[in-house]
């Protein structure tokens, strides 16, 4: 994608009177880091970028903004928020529309067709991070790293993020403005992560997740980063009744993670953010993808594709599978 075009359109959008600000990606403070950028003027728009490192799903900021009471005598700011989205992010926006978490009039969606993102963990493992900014670009069938002048070409397969290998919607499913050309969806990889867990017997799976959940420090970053975890009053925060104790131990952590994954059944759009942000590397994506597959195979439902769809967990079909019922 042409960065000049992106910045020009972004500047036009933020100049609009009905737009409060634009959320996009900008260069982070060092190395490979990308930071979410909140743009209010043309100068800010000139900092925006779109690169294979822009993994963050910015749709989460649509619901993260605190709704403070409007002081007496003042008007509420009803202007729109402009949001840059990749394919997966646009599905989050669609799912938010389905759930009426946001209203279509409140957002301007700027779609960025996405040729696939780099996995930051794989990248730093192969090419250690530096304090200098490293530019990463798409180039033909691969990625191009520019490390202090030295250009390194890396094949796509080596660095492509897992969520992108499994992505079926690289193009935004919803957008008001589409930047650049749509990309051709690629061949899907096998979901090795889920298959690895499924290949174990029940006891083996328990042991596997016991090791994973025992690491959890309950920082709630997986919940907070999720564009679809936006309850004002999260049941996992409740103290009366306390469904999940605050104590951090394997039992409570397991309960927390089962509840978190369950609440995303039929809602998770597979942006992989929960897994990316986890400070102790719990493969949360596996839980979500397992459920997403169940929902697709057994119930024929796919979240975040059709803004007119009924929410999965708030609807039913008379012929839903019931073979597990005694």
């Amino acid at each position: 994608m042409n960065l000049g075009q992106l910045r020009k359109i972004a500047a036009e959008v933020v100049a609009r009177e009905d737009v409060k600000y634009l959320i996009g990606w900008k260069q982070g403070s060092y190395g490979y880091r990308i930071a979410p950028g909140f743009v209010e003027d043309a100068a800010g728009a000139a900092e925006l970028i779109f690169s294979p490192l822009c993994t963050a799903n910015l749709a989460t900021y649509l619901t993260l903004v605190e709704k403070l009471p409007v002081p007496r005598g003042q008007e509420a700011d009803k202007r729109k928020v402009a949001l840059m989205v990749k394919g997966c992010d646009s599905r989050a926006v669609t799912q938010l529309l389905v759930e009426k978490g946001i209203h279509r009039d409140e957002v301007v969606v700027i779609g960025c067709p996405c040729p696939g993102m780099v996995d930051p963990a794989l990248l730093t493992e192969k090419y250690p991070e530096t304090e200098e900014t490293v530019e990463v670009k798409w180039s033909g069938d691969g990625f191009l790293l520019n490390r202090s002048g030295e250009e390194i070409k890396v094949p796509r397969d080596e660095l492509l993020a897992e969520k992108c290998r499994l992505c079926r919607y690289p193009n935004p499913v919803i957008s008001d403005i589409l930047l650049g050309e749509a990309v051709e969806p690629w061949e899907l990889a096998e979901d090795n992560g889920v298959a690895e867990v499924e290949g174990k017997d029940v006891g083996g799976r328990w042991d596997y997740w016991e090791e994973q959940f025992a690491k959890c420090v309950r920082c709630y970053s997986c919940r907070n980063v999720c564009p679809l975890c936006y309850c004002q009053d999260c049941i996992l925060d409740r103290l009366n009744p306390t469904w999940v104790n605050r104590a951090v131990n394997f039992s409570e952590n397991t309960s927390f993670h089962i509840a978190r994954a369950f609440h995303l059944a039929g809602r998770c759009i597979g942006c992989g953010e929960c897994e990316r942000v986890c400070p102790v590397n719990i493969p949360l994506g596996r839980l979500n993808r397992k459920l997403a597959r169940e929902v697709r195979d057994k119930y024929g439902f796919e979240p975040g594709v059709d803004p007119e769809a009924e929410p999965f967990q708030a609807s039913f079909k008379p012929d839903d599978p019931g073979d597990f019922i005694l």
């Binding site: 104790n245 039992s251 057994k298 967990q313 039913f316 597990f324």
Partner: protein, 143 residues
């Protein structure tokens, strides 16, 4: 596992069908295993997955959720919703490594005292085979 191990089962029964069905089993003097602790809820659709988690954390070795037959729900569609949600929960629990024999769902109507007996026998038998679920107990009483 000790020979005299008796599993604890927590059963969430809907007020309108399954609870009445269990009641009928009692008044008809049908014998069924005494391992079941019944919690009455207004509808199987009200059963939150965290109920199931909490039951397992607090000493249950198996959980049963039972409601009206499809189409018979007092609230028209609560059991359909329960079927979808708890079906997902069952898959998820299996994926996490909870023995599938620990969680069951059934439809028992107010007139099915005998079916209730069969369901309980199956649930208890399965939980007995699966053994005590110590791994998931709340650890709060430890230091």
């Amino acid at each position: 596992m000790s020979a005299d191990y008796e599993p604890n089962i927590v059963a969430f029964l809907c007020n309108w069908c399954s609870y009445a069905g269990a009641d009928l089993a009692g008044t008809s003097r049908v014998h069924y295993p005494a391992n079941v602790q019944v919690i009455r809820v207004m509808c199987s659709g009200r059963v939150n997955p965290l109920y199931v988690m909490n039951a397992l954390q607090q000493g249950a070795d198996g959980v049963l959720v039972s409601g009206c037959h499809p189409g018979d729900c007092h609230y028209m569609e609560g059991n359909f919703r329960a079927r979808r949600r708890l079906g997902m929960l069952k898959s998820l629990m299996e994926f996490v490594g909870v023995d599938p024999r620990r969680f069951h769902m059934s439809w028992v109507s107010a007139s099915e005292g005998h079916k209730w007996k069969e369901v309980v026998e199956k649930t208890v038998e399965d939980a007995r085979e699966a053994g005590p679920f110590e791994g998931f107990r709340r650890q709060q009483i430890d230091w």
